[in-house]
């Protein structure tokens, strides 16, 4: 075991893994974190805690991770390269590990021009692939990036993201391969809506032997409404929402659109699980909809979660 995290153990035991996501509050509202966490307890194997996602300032990811640990959940600490240089990145993973955090997801991070402080200066000392490599080195070689020895190395399960729907498509699997070569133990994908394209992506990954080296978890985000589907299709770069999903939501009563979105999510999970053996689990991102994560996971027949 590299980290002994629940997620690592669930995957090692050959179970179909389920991870969730929780966005920290825009303040120090501890109750909000606990409230959202309660909906995910026992529903997912590990919970991603976003790191100032969309470049909007929120409670520090590591702190929200610690709150989850205290509530008996396992966090997955998301870290972006936008806000920290190599000194802070290494320091933060040591601190996180000291607090009992065992999973980390390495990301470049959304550019600050999207966020609520667009005038800010970014860092990008490292990119996400170099961050993975740095953490692998800290864990396995027990040294800092500069080769100097650590006084206690972090036992961490290292994750990365992949977006099968960004361009150029053919390069996406290669780039995921670079992340795996750098040391990624698991990959969580961007939200999937275009199933044929995802199938093609998985096939390429399987053909290149990548799914043998690394656990691929498929990203699932339920569509809450026609409005959300249209917004994602139009305004979120690298997001691919096919017209058929929008039509299906339009086909039901407005009050029923959320339920229909959940049905679609469940069907997608089932299809992935039954027809894509290269995929080892799902990452359910019920954004600001944590209270409905259970319906999805339960509906897909993935409850109860294994105790390992």
């Amino acid at each position: 075991m590299k980290s002994g995290s629940n997620l690592e153990k669930v995957l090692a035991a050959g179970h179909f893994a389920v991870t969730g996501e929780l966005g920290p509050p825009r303040g120090n509202n501890v109750e909000e974190v606990r409230h959202k966490a309660a909906f995910l307890k026992g529903i997912v194997d590990s919970v991603n805690i976003t790191d100032n996602q969309t470049a909007v300032v929120r409670m520090a990811s590591w702190a929200a991770c610690k709150l989850l640990i205290d509530e008996g959940l396992e966090p997955n600490y998301q870290m972006v390269c936008r806000d920290r240089n190599r000194i802070a990145l290494q320091s933060d993973i040591l601190g996180a590990s000291a607090l009992g955090i065992k999973n980390v997801l390495c990301l470049s991070g959304d550019h600050q021009r999207f966020g609520d402080h667009p005038e800010g200066k970014n860092v990008y000392d490292l990119d996400s692939i170099q961050l993975i490599d740095t953490f692998r080195k800290m864990r396995d070689e027990k040294t800092f990036l500069n080769g100097k020895e650590l006084d206690g190395a972090p036992g961490i399960f290292i994750g990365a993201a992949a977006n099968p729907f960004a361009d150029p498509f053919a390069w996406r699997v290669v780039r995921m391969g670079k992340k795996i070569a750098a040391g990624a133990d698991f990959i969580q994908t961007q939200c999937i809506y275009n199933m044929p394209k995802f199938r093609e992506f998985v096939k390429m990954a399987v053909d290149q032997g990548l799914t043998e080296k690394c656990a691929l978890l498929a990203g699932i985000t339920p569509l809450k409404s026609v409005g959300m589907a249209k917004y994602m299709a139009k305004f979120v770069p690298g997001m691919d929402v096919p017209e058929e999903h929008i039509k299906r939501l339009q086909g039901v009563d407005k009050k029923e659109q959320g339920n229909e979105g959940i049905k679609i999510a469940i069907e997608m999970i089932q299809e992935i699980r039954e027809t894509m053996p290269g995929v080892k689990g799902v990452h359910v991102m019920a954004i600001e909809w944590e209270h409905r994560a259970k319906e999805i996971v339960e509906g897909a027949g993935l409850l109860p979660r294994p105790v390992v």
């Binding site: 470049s108 550019h111 990119d127 150029p168 290669v174 670079k178």
Partner: protein, 222 residues
């Protein structure tokens, strides 16, 4: 070349408020080429300042001059006899100009008349694009001749990130995703395999991160 943009006239007028005798100082270097700080632009700015001052009922004492370069002391020296006769000098060279002027003539207030924006080149008449961030360790040959440091919004060495869509960067449809172009270019050259390498972390010591830079050429020093 170093590319710049004129500052708004209002900002310049505010800078020189109360300064009677003013010199607008151009440069025949980069800023002449990018049409922002040469002799022609000196004339335009001086005329605009005169009109504004006249309107405000002030003496329009604005003089014009353009040096060969403002980044070389030998040309700045041409002003040795006259500089202190001005109440203000507006340098419309790149950011080097106002600093070299201030260093040479410490008694004279020097104001920047342009904003220095980037190191780049002309894409077409009237359009310039950024190409270099002066990181001090050029690697463009590894990326099909396209710089990921200056031209990727996140300076990724192992791009493109998940925000690349339709060859455009996630920050704006007006910004090319340079990593998309790098992948295409390397593919066209039959060199795509080279990009499968995991590029290690960059040494930023040679960049501005290593502190303000200075270059000494012993063979040229006198």
């Amino acid at each position: 070349m170093i590319v710049g943009d004129s500052k708004p006239l209002e900002e310049i007028l505010e800078m020189i408020q109360g300064k009677e005798k003013v010199l607008v100082l151009g440069c025949r270097g980069c800023v002449t080429v990018c049409n922002v700080g040469g002799e022609k632009e000196v004339g335009i700015l001086a005329t605009l300042l005169r009109i504004a001052r006249k309107k405000a009922g002030l003496a329009p004492s604005i003089e014009e001059r353009t040096l060969e370069r403002q980044c070389d002391p030998e040309y700045i020296e041409e002003l040795a006899e006259v500089a202190e006769g001005y109440d203000a000098i507006i340098s419309i060279a790149c950011g080097v100009g106002p600093q070299f002027m201030s260093e040479r003539f410490p008694k004279v207030p020097v104001y920047p008349g342009i904003n220095t924006t980037f190191i780049g080149g002309a894409l077409e008449h009237g359009v310039w694009g950024e190409r270099c961030q002066s990181c001090g360790n050029c690697l463009v040959h590894n990326f099909g001749g396209l710089c990921p440091i200056a031209r990727c919004s996140k300076s990724l060495m192992n791009g493109p990130c998940g925000g690349s869509a339709n060859k455009k960067c996630e920050i704006s449809p007006d910004v090319d995703c340079i990593w998309h172009l790098i992948v295409e270019k390397m593919d066209a050259m039959g060199r795509l395999k080279e990009l499968e390498r995991v590029w290690p972390v960059k040494n930023w010591i040679t960049s501005r991160d290593g502190g303000p830079r200075k270059r000494v050429r012993e063979d040229l020093k006198q």
